[in-house]
Subunit: 157 residues, 2 copies
């Protein structure tokens, strides 16, 4: 039982890195970096959102986000719009080309990511979800205890 959690953490790490390797190879084929892909996917099917919200959802801090958005804007995949209510806000939204990229990239990617689950039964999914949910709750609770406030979680896929 001693240090048993280490095995679990190692497995979590290995699972994620395997997923990253699989998913990342597919993403890089699109010519987008992981961060750029996250932004495109987060903005897909929305009317756009502020830097603040985008940063919260993708876990990219504002300084970095400016650079990422700059590069996407250079490629004309997103645009910046000044907020009308609060003019301190900048809304980032997909351009038409960005929406096309989203469509070309997102669906094939999630189809690609479906592969490992081909043999999963309903019970397998329930177990997996419950197990991960429990772990996530514990991890987040620990974070909340460690620092006074926990921030938002990354979720792009």
């Amino acid at each position: 039982m001693k240090e048993r959690y280490l095995r679990s953490l190692r497995l979590l790490s290995e699972c994620y890195h395997s997923f990253e390797q699989m998913s990342g190879a597919d993403i890089r084929k699109t010519g987008l970096t992981q961060a750029q892909f996250d932004i495109i996917v987060t903005l897909g099917n929305t009317a756009g959102m502020t830097f603040k919200e985008l940063g919260r959802k993708t876990l990219i801090t504002k300084g970095t986000l400016t650079g990422v958005i700059d590069r996407l804007e250079t490629r004309q995949l997103v645009r910046r719009i000044s907020g009308r209510e609060d003019r301190r806000n900048t809304i980032v939204q997909l351009t038409a080309a960005g929406e096309r990229t989203f469509e070309q990239v997102f669906d094939p990617h999630i189809q690609f990511c479906k592969q490992p689950f081909s043999g999963y039964t309903e019970t397998d999914f329930i177990t997996l979800e419950e197990t991960l949910e429990k772990l996530k709750n514990r991890l987040d609770a620990t974070i909340a205890t460690t620092k006074t406030a926990a921030q938002g979680r990354k979720s792009s896929l």
Copy 2:
């Protein structure tokens, strides 16, 4: 059932990022980057290893590894030794200061990482391990099908 796997993948991603956030905050307090920490931990309790092996274990490619090791060598935490058998090899090993760092850093870190599991029962651990192991096997099988050969997996905690 449609697209059900997306929820699982999102949970996996969220778990890992929560873990990273928790673990990363603890690691950064040591003044080491994640890559540097991985190297120190991988070299801890060994007589050293070649660049090739170190790269395989940490999933850092050789070009990057040279830079990471350079910075650790500057800080006198590791040293390079020419291989005696095959002089093309370079063995990397912890210096005395590196070993001290390993000891100061590793044990507190794994104690820190124990926190989320304080309420876990034996059954919880078994479920978690089996669930993650199954997922990892499926992910790796997919990778193996996608590319002809799958490489080693990252494991430093």
